[in-house]
Symmetry: C2
Subunit: 252 residues, 2 copies
């Protein structure tokens, strides 16, 4: 939605872990050259489409999800600026989920050729990308804990926190306030509830002064309480890519 300084959000993110040289910065930037513009509420890929490229989110929010046989939906991930979509589909012949835009979006296309190019020329970025993918996986196991063992209120709390910390990574959150384009149906499908339960949980949180909502924006008022309630850990805080083998190879 909001990109600062005209820089790509992925570059902003990378800058938190690496000091990029000019080549690397340019390469990262090139991923989001000629971005594809996507209108709000449109289908970007359908399940089964050939997974011959990845997407890099330059701006906007997207949802990936699957449809159950009975028509219900499970949201697998919320994609924010700086995210790379489809990395783990690369060894598979096709996408295994649907991808839909929640807002107007700008997506960089990343072909397999280009991934090749990065992997061969910039070991540091390679290490960074793999680390991102591994953190992605950690995020998923955290969500298993949420869906498997938390009640409605805590599920909603955990979801809001996870969005907040990710927005902060790319400077998209303004302190404790951020745009929040999900409907309560979307949120419900993300945390395994119904829209009714989500409505109740959010109302209760607002009444107790823990969050505040207003027309597509969300404010986190008592972050400490929320973190405590769900034992939240920010996986992005502890990334360390210095160990990554390709790095050492390139320095030798």
């Amino acid at each position: 939605m909001r990109t600062k300084r005209g820089e790509s959000p992925l570059a902003t993110l990378a800058g938190k872990y690496l000091t990029l040289d000019e080549d690397e910065r340019e390469l990262l930037g090139s991923l989001t050259h000629e971005p594809r513009r996507i209108a709000r509420n449109s289908e970007v890929v359908r399940e089964g489409k050939a997974a011959d490229n990845l997407f890099v989110v330059r701006s906007g929010w997207l949802l990936s999800y699957t449809i159950m046989p009975d028509g219900r939906r499970q949201v697998l991930q919320v994609h924010l600026p700086g995210d790379i979509i489809g990395f783990c589909d690369m060894p598979l012949p096709s996408f295994t989920y649907e991808l839909k835009s929640l807002t107007d979006c700008s997506l960089g296309l990343l072909t397999r050729d280009r991934v090749n190019h990065i992997f061969h020329t910039t070991p540091r970025l390679t290490g960074f990308l793999f680390s991102l993918m591994m953190v992605d996986q950690k995020t998923h196991t955290d969500r298993l804990r949420v869906l498997g063992r938390m009640n409605a209120r805590d599920r909603v709390i955990h979801f809001l926190l996870s969005v907040l910390v990710r927005l902060r990574l790319t400077d998209e959150a303004e302190g404790d306030v951020f745009d929040f384009p999900l409907t309560q149906f979307d949120l419900a499908d993300a945390v395994g509830l119904t829209n009714v339960s989500v409505s109740n949980a959010l109302s209760s949180l607002q009444e107790q002064g823990i969050v505040k909502r207003s027309s597509g924006r969300m404010q986190i008022l008592d972050e400490a309480y929320m973190r405590e309630a769900v034992s939240f850990t920010n996986r992005f805080e502890s990334i360390d890519i210095s160990w990554f083998p390709y790095l050492q190879a390139s320095r030798a």
Copy 2:
């Protein structure tokens, strides 16, 4: 539990996707040289321990799990022969979960140095390992769908199927029968239920002739019905590593 022909289960698994040359076969084998023996029901790592090495499961079953503040448990993954444990912890300073053996186990240790060595010398194995990691992630998103949107019966069905197909990969399943060392508490903690619900679900499945249990063994009687019930897809069937960039690099 049962390893055929003395071959390491990871090598068996790799052999399904690659034709290994002698060097590669030897390297894979070396990962499980001098395996560490672990007794049934013992803690292998605790959360917070430095993640300076991975484990390769040579034989036996293990569980990784987290404990909730209220003492309940969420099983994150069941580890079977051929599995690599801890890959996605590499960019993190320490393990983020507990690891416990369900049976007597034999674990190969894999230090970061050795990972380095593989990455530098055998691009094909590197591609294979990354593909495994990506499939791992797919497996996790499948479980999100299970925990978010399925009822007790279907959760149990999905779990049994996912174990079955993984055991078949390393030839540890005998047709539709396999060892099943999990208690109903373990299974419950894996799929976000209580032992009571698991007991009910299993009894119902057995009564309807869909599965059959007997003292630590499980038999799948109506696999087609079960696959249909949960729209099961076997992610390992569709792995394709031919695209992997490092491969092309080494051939060029």
